[in-house]
């Protein structure tokens, strides 16, 4: 009861209150304590990374034990995971081996997956962007103008596109985004206050 429910609440209350007050007021002892708390947060995050690594290792080892060598994805995952860790720890991140993994495996695969979006979004837009009602027509016209206005060739085809795009982005878009962000920030403050006050305990895994 104490460890699972009360202790996390006390820690959250002390840390939240100290860091919040130190942000708004200049009081050296409190600011020093807040700085220590933020450093602890950094250390805890590093342990969380380690925990995540161990978790991934256990999940894929379990998969291999269950399915054998047939589970090629888990095998590939474990091989690359262990190779990267061994090279990173043994020779450092600035070593040639680590650089090779990053330049020739990590970056190309990341870019390849990301670049698939151009194909999927393109076909999705072609099939879904249809003028079926007024709202869809507005969305279509706006989308097409912004797409043309953001690239040099689009500006050659439709010379007014960059100016209209600029207006859409800086007036219509910013107005909407600002409303969403302010509403989100108010909600964020409310949830933070509930956690600090101990009213919100689901974040500790307690109902």
């Amino acid at each position: 009861m104490f460890i699972r429910k009360l202790l996390p609440t006390y820690i959250a209350f002390v840390c939240g209150t100290v860091v919040t007050i130190a942000y708004f007021f200049t009081f050296k002892p409190l600011q020093s304590l807040a700085q220590d708390i933020m450093q602890w947060r950094s250390i805890i995050a590093i342990f969380a990374l380690g925990l995540g690594a161990v978790n991934i290792l256990m999940v894929h080892l379990r998969n291999l034990r269950r399915d054998g060598w047939k589970n090629i994805y888990s095998l590939a995952m474990l091989l690359t995971f262990c190779t990267t860790i061994i090279i990173g720890l043994g020779w450092g991140q600035s070593s040639k081996g680590y650089r090779f993994i990053f330049d020739y495996i990590n970056v190309p695969t990341g870019s390849a997956i990301f670049s698939l979006l151009a194909f999927y979004i393109g076909t999705a837009a072609y099939r879904a962007f249809r003028v079926k009602n007024t709202e869809a027509a507005i969305l279509l016209v706006t989308g097409c103008i912004v797409m043309l206005g953001r690239v040099p060739l689009g500006a050659q085809i439709l010379p007014v596109a960059p100016k209209i795009t600029d207006w859409i982005m800086s007036v219509l878009n910013v107005g909407g985004q600002r409303g969403v962000m302010v509403a989100g920030a108010v909600g964020f403050i409310a949830v933070s206050l509930r956690i600090i006050a101990g009213l919100e305990r689901r974040v500790y895994g307690v109902e």
Binding site: Q35, Q39, A45, F102, G122, A125, L148, G154, Q156
Partner: protein
């Protein structure tokens, strides 16, 4: 199925082939389309140009593989301008891949005679997101004891000059959103609101919509959004790079998508008219 109905449901492989060609051909043979500088990019350029010569800037490489296409050209173009003003550069990263990108982009500084340790440093990855950035902003030595290459930070003359975020004449975050690391919102809170350090944003094109709010509100001094902004910044600094080359391919891809969307709609409208006129049953 008449021709208009067929056009509404073209095989997606046709689109894939056309898209691949639209990207590949201009990349191999750049067209050299004229690049017009947009107001936010000009504003960013003017701000950086106005920084005191020899001052220090902090750059956050907060992105992962996949987004370097947009963000690396922005960083390189910016470094050309900073180097022309002898401004010292400190790089930090909230993503594990960030220091590798920083190392890659900072290579351009060597061409200007920059020396590692005294003119630029790459401090590496920090875990913990915003609280760690806050701790770094208050006292950099509380987070980093070694740089990315494993050097003791006490041996780096530039690091010795750092006491807090206030030492920087400008901070910049190159980010692909706040997921897993620090994004624009976190940097606005820790650099601008807590320390009053001017901030400029470098982000992927898709984040322009949400990040523009901070520029218009005055919290940020400028924004570079996507590859288009990188190409425009390259034009302003007079150093053509991958941003300029990439804009030809991006232009073709955008126009192809718009053309397909319009084609689908024209086909749909004509098909409806044909059906209304009683000719839609033909096969």
């Amino acid at each position: 199925m008449n021709i208009w109905e067929k056009l509404q449901n073209l095989d997606k492989r046709v689109f894939y082939v056309l898209m691949a060609l639209a990207i590949a051909i201009p990349t191999i043979n750049p067209i050299g389309l004229p690049i017009n500088v947009e107001a936010p990019v000009q504003q960013t350029f003017n701000f950086v140009k106005g920084l005191p010569d020899g001052s220090k800037v902090l750059i956050g490489f907060d992105y992962e593989p996949g987004d370097e296409i947009d963000l690396n050209p922005q960083a390189v173009a910016l470094f050309h301008l900073l180097a022309s003003k002898k401004i010292k550069v400190v790089a930090i990263s909230s993503f594990p891949a960030g220091p590798m990108f920083a190392d890659e982009c900072m290579a351009v500084l060597k061409d200007y005679g920059y020396k590692y340790g005294s003119d630029y440093i790459n401090l590496g990855y920090y875990a913990g997101g915003e609280p760690t950035l806050a701790a770094f902003s208050n006292k950099p030595s509380s987070i980093y004891s070694k740089d990315w290459q494993g050097n003791d930070v006490a041996s780096l003359p530039l690091f010795k000059e750092l006491t807090s975020m206030k030492d920087f004449s400008m901070a910049m975050t190159l980010n692909d959103g706040p997921t897993g690391g620090t994004g624009t919102h976190e940097w606005v809170r820790q650099a601008v609101m807590a320390h009053g350090t001017p901030l400029i944003i470098g982000c992927t094109g898709v984040l322009a919509a949400s990040n523009m709010t901070y520029v218009q509100g005055g919290q940020c001094k400028g924004i570079l959004a996507g590859l288009a902004a990188a190409a425009q910044f390259e034009k302003l600094v007079g150093k053509k790079g991958t941003g300029t080359v990439g804009m030809d391919a991006q232009s073709m891809a955008h126009v192809l998508i718009v053309a397909f969307v319009l084609l689908g709609n024209v086909a749909m409208i004509l098909s409806r008219q044909r059906k209304a006129a009683g000719g839609g049953a033909s096969r």
